[in-house]
């Protein structure tokens, strides 16, 4: 009887700590076309051998939340197991005519726009259900966009730890210093998910992020 009580106590106290550290739900958030799925693919390819989703130059390629369970990341003798949650890009406007500029016909564009609006709503709902968030921004774009601030503000309001990633540092216009200046309270890591540049520093920062949960 006493042994069972002690066992249950340890399970409750240490079991919770253990599970929260080893099976974290990490959400990838950001505006459309920042490279969230490219980063998710890079992480999944590095640690599971297979990619998570399709990427495209057309905005809103990811229109549904997609997951990869039990991604086991090993870094400097440490192991982090996480559920990777790749979310649709958050936008304040979606115009089907923008998709037609990429060669889609009117019907396809309207369908894509409709699905994209659902995707944004779904991504916002998922804010309630993640343990930590990696915000992926395009380092070649102006970081002061309201969508970025809204995402960060919502995470702060919910006490969800944040890591900022400036993607596409392979582009000439990329400016990580500008991003760091825009968000001085946060760690900013510059990467190129497409080319796999600086992923070591990213994984290091991911472990630090996991510690904050």
């Amino acid at each position: 009887m006493v042994i069972r009580i002690i066992k249950s106590f340890f399970n409750r106290v240490f079991g919770n700590i253990f599970s929260s550290r080893t099976n974290l739900k990490i959400g990838l958030y950001g505006p459309p076309n920042a490279g969230k799925t490219s980063l998710a693919n890079r992480i999944c390819k590095d640690w599971t051998g297979e990619e998570l989703g399709k990427v495209s130059k057309i905005p809103h390629e990811t229109r549904k939340v997609q997951f990869k369970e039990k991604v086991e990341i090993k870094h400097k003798n440490k192991v982090l197991t996480l559920k990777l949650v790749d979310t649709p890009g958050i936008a304040t406007k979606i115009d089907y005519e923008d998709f037609m500029k990429f060669g889609l016909n009117k019907k396809e564009s309207k369908k894509r726009a409709k699905e994209a609006t659902y995707g944004v709503i779904e991504a916002i709902k998922w804010l309630e259900d993640v343990d930590a968030v990696v915000i992926v921004l395009d380092a070649s774009q102006n970081p002061y966009s309201q969508v970025n601030l809204t995402i960060i503000g919502n995470l702060v309001a919910r006490n969800i730890p944040v890591l900022l990633v400036g993607n596409k540092i392979d582009l000439r216009k990329a400016d990580i210093k500008k991003m760091s200046a825009a968000f001085p309270e946060y760690d900013v890591v510059g990467i190129s998910a497409k080319q796999g540049t600086n992923m070591e520093e990213f994984y290091e920062s991911l472990f630090k992020l996991a510690k904050k949960v």
Binding site: I90, T92, K93, D95, T117, I124, K125, N142, Q146, L149
Partner: protein, 133 residues
């Protein structure tokens, strides 16, 4: 009907005071803003929305796209003076905000069908309108 036709060619900027919005509940604030935006008005708001309200505004906006004819979403930006001040100035600003609310912020929200883009740096907002107004 003729009145609506005339309105189509007019650009309306509506200035909304902090006191006007602060007396409303959160969902009423969002509804009021969206009602104005759907009527193609650009809102200049004294103060700012809470982050959770901004997220709700975005979700509600998405739900309206495709349902309201010609509605493509919103453009919004907030500037909040005081961020780049020194330590003591920030304390002063923080105290003032605690007492009277965030009246020193300014938020611009407009329909994406009229506001093509909002360019923002920490201290100024540029509003780019569509050419064919």
């Amino acid at each position: 009907m003729a009145k609506n036709k005339n309105l189509k060619n007019k650009l309306t900027l509506r200035f909304v005071s902090y006191s006007e919005m602060s007396k409303l509940e959160s969902n009423e604030r969002i509804k009021k803003l969206l009602d104005n935006i759907v009527e193609n008005k650009i809102i200049v708001l004294q103060g700012k929305l809470e982050p959770v309200e901004e997220a709700t505004l975005i979700s509600s906006t998405m739900a309206l796209i495709g349902r309201v004819k010609g509605f493509k979403g919103v453009e919004l930006a907030t500037i909040q003076p005081g961020k780049e001040n020194g330590f003591f100035e920030n304390i002063k600003v923080g105290l003032a905000r605690a007492l009277v609310g965030e009246r020193d912020s300014l938020t611009v929200i407009g329909p994406a069908a009229i506001v093509r883009d909002i360019k923002k740096d920490p201290s100024k907002i540029d509003l780019m309108l569509v050419k064919s107004l």
